[in-house]
């Protein structure tokens, strides 16, 4: 066990799985970097350095730099998974799914069903999502509700370094296609991470705080926001439950209902666009299955229904924050 960043935890998961299984290959744009140049051959290691250093262990046959050609990347990774490799494809920013979604939506996600249960597609797609880096409308989206909507793929949102390593190892070992979503604001956060290999099962949400006055349901980066709000409330004499969903598909419905029933006052914090998002989905679930526990209307903290703005004051207004979550919580406490 040692202190590692979210970035280091992901890198270590890749390293260990690639050492363990020679069928694991990494495919993407600049995942090593420097291909075809006279300069450094591991020049980038991914645009934010997450795959840095893997090249020296595995060479260009397994750390595969591609042209900027997302449809071909996603198709190639899917076809490779279907025929015996265990690829980890990187989609640099989740926003770029706009140019290649067909290969996931209509191909990979449906292979198993369309082919009558015969296809096995052990594909992991790593991608970077979320706002806060002043990256504007085409490099800041979440989009995970779109993937959660599609049967046949699994959606994973690690909120901390420990989960990032364990959930990525599970994603790579999993025999279904997985979209593993890394919040770009989390890469430099640190936490205790075991040095050895371990996996965290899908569909098991994590209670990061236990309380009796209010319940926060969070995912990805919003888990940290909710933990901090819970700590603030504690100083004011109120205790909060915080549930980290960890995976959106499969969804741990039992833990969600348990967390809701513990307090009857629920705030769901979701950084994605507010229409048809995870917060509305979970709200509907609680209303259908645990309506009687509710002591107040379910509250949702999400951005407004706009693209992600560029200007720093506008983006700050746009994103969920501790202050917003605290204010909403106080409305029902």
């Amino acid at each position: 066990m040692s202190l590692k960043t979210y970035r280091e935890a992901i890198n270590e998961a890749l390293l260990q799985e690639m050492q363990k299984d020679e069928n694991v290959v990494v495919i993407g744009e600049d995942v090593a970097g420097g291909a075809g140049t006279n300069g450094e051959q591991d020049a980038w290691g991914g645009v934010l350095g997450v795959t840095k250093g893997l090249l020296k262990h595995f060479g260009r046959e397994r750390i595969i730099d591609t042209p900027i050609t997302e449809t071909a990347i996603m198709g190639m990774a899917s076809g490779a998974a279907l025929t015996g490799l265990r690829p980890v494809a990187e989609l640099m920013f989740v926003d770029f799914m706009g140019v290649c979604f067909d290969q996931i939506l209509n191909q990979t996600a449906k292979f198993r069903y369309m082919f009558g249960g015969k296809a096995v597609t052990p594909l992991t797609i790593r991608t970077m999502y979320g706002g806060g880096l002043r990256a504007a409308s085409q490099h800041s989206q979440c989009l995970y509700p779109m993937f959660t909507h599609v049967p046949g793929i699994k959606v994973v949102l690690p909120s901390n370094p420990y989960d990032a390593k364990g959930l990525l190892i599970q994603s790579i070992r999993d025999n279904d296609p997985v979209i593993f979503m890394e919040h770009k604001n989390l890469y430099d956060t640190s936490g205790e991470v075991p040095d050895e290999s371990y996996s965290i099962p899908f569909g098991e949400a994590n209670f990061t705080r236990e309380g009796k006055d209010i319940t926060f349901i969070a995912m990805g980066q919003t888990v940290d926001i909710c933990n901090k709000v819970a700590d603030t409330l504690k100083k004011e004499g109120k205790t909060a439950t915080v549930l980290d969903l960890r995976t959106l598909s499969p969804l741990d419905e039992d833990s969600i209902l348990e967390a809701a029933e513990e307090t009857g006052k629920i705030v769901i914090v979701d950084e994605s666009y507010p229409r048809c998002n995870i917060a509305t989905d979970i709200s509907a679930l609680i209303c259908q299955k645990s309506f009687d526990c509710l002591k107040a209307g379910i509250k949702m903290v999400s951005p407004p229904h706009t693209p992600v703005p560029f200007s720093p004051p506008l983006e700050d207004l746009y994103l969920p924050s501790e202050e917003k979550v605290l204010n909403v919580a106080k409305e029902i406490l």
Binding site: E61, T71, A80, Q103, Q107, Y113, F115, G116, K118
Partner: protein, 321 residues
């Protein structure tokens, strides 16, 4: 001619089976006996057979919405395929795929495809697997003249060239993308697109089985030997319309007659092998009637087969969820 008698018989058997299968589907569909919609391959048989006869069982193909011919040429069972078209539980995909999603991974058939241009990116992956595992296999991606205008095709050819993958891209140009002429919809030449990406590119007469066989043999062997990807632009024509029910009003009577009489790959094959004294007419006619009877059996069995039930609705989405 490099083919021996046995191979010639196999080629004609395959083409006849494709012809009989899709002719039968044409009549069954018109009689309202079949659900969904189907796209028939009649008239293009030499392409599928000419190429697939150069593949082994571990090589793979990805097909199109007009996929029955590719499936049969790659060895899929015609009765299981027919059951699938009727939506039956014992169909090749358990009735969950239908005509446009027939797949049999055990035969190296990675799926027909309902998305125009959807298959070639998947072929890249199979080819990457072969390159990584050094197996000497190849993967072939079929697409039409319509799909040639999709970005997925250009991206796939480029990626295959960059990574030097054992991938063969086969454009079956039957002259029409739905009701639109390829002459209208294709800027420049399809062949030049392959050349532009550095692919070994060939134009092929798709009515002539022997030409398809010879040229595909050459590019497939090169790909197996690490010489990289290729493009075949196969000029062909289809007897029926885009889908069953298409009145084909965009083609003239003369063109329809020409396709049936002068561009029929089965007739051309028959003429060539009998004139050269390689096979006897009697032998060929026997193959034709065997194909007819196999397809009749396939239809009879399919009609009698059971539909899936509510138990089958929720299975096969995930391996574990």
């Amino acid at each position: 001619m490099q083919l021996n008698r046995e191979e010639l018989l196999k080629a004609y058997q395959g083409m006849c089976l494709i012809r009989e299968f899709d002719d039968a589907v044409h009549y069954e569909f018109a009689a309202d006996a079949m659900p969904g919609f189907v796209h028939l391959y009649v008239g293009e048989e030499a392409s599928a057979m000419g190429i697939c006869m150069n593949l082994n069982e571990k090589d793979t193909i990805a097909s199109t919405h007009r996929g029955h011919g590719h499936c049969i040429a790659k060895g899929c069972d015609v009765t299981d395929m027919m059951k699938e078209l009727y939506g039956k539980k014992d169909g090749i995909c358990g009735g969950k795929g239908g005509s446009m999603h027939i797949a049999d991974l055990s035969k190296g058939m990675l799926g027909a495809n309902g998305i125009v241009g959807g298959g070639p990116p998947i072929v890249l992956g199979a080819a990457l697997t072969y390159k990584t595992k050094k197996t000497n296999n190849v993967s072939v991606g079929f697409f039409g003249d319509g799909a040639s205008n999709q970005g997925s095709i250009s991206e796939s050819m480029n990626m295959a060239a960059v990574l030097k993958l054992p991938a063969i891209f086969v454009c079956e140009d039957n002259g029409y993308a739905e009701s639109t002429a390829s002459e209208y919809a294709v800027g420049g030449k399809i062949l030049d697109r392959g050349k532009a990406f550095g692919l070994d590119s060939h134009e092929v007469d798709g009515d002539n089985f022997f030409e398809v066989y010879e040229i595909s043999k050459h590019v497939i062997e090169n790909a197996r030997n690490g010489k990289g990807p290729a493009l075949l632009h196969i000029k062909t024509s289809k007897v029926y319309g885009h889908f069953e029910g298409d009145a084909i009003s965009y083609r003239t009577k003369e063109e329809n007659e020409r396709i049936k009489n002068d561009e029929d790959p089965l007739k051309i094959f028959k003429m060539k092998v009998t004139e050269a004294g390689l096979l006897e007419l009697e032998q060929l006619e026997k193959i034709e009637s065997e194909a007819k009877s196999r397809i009749k059996t396939a239809i009879d069995e399919s009609k009698k087969a059971e539909f899936p039930t509510s138990k089958d609705l929720l299975t096969d989405v995930y391996i574990k969820y």
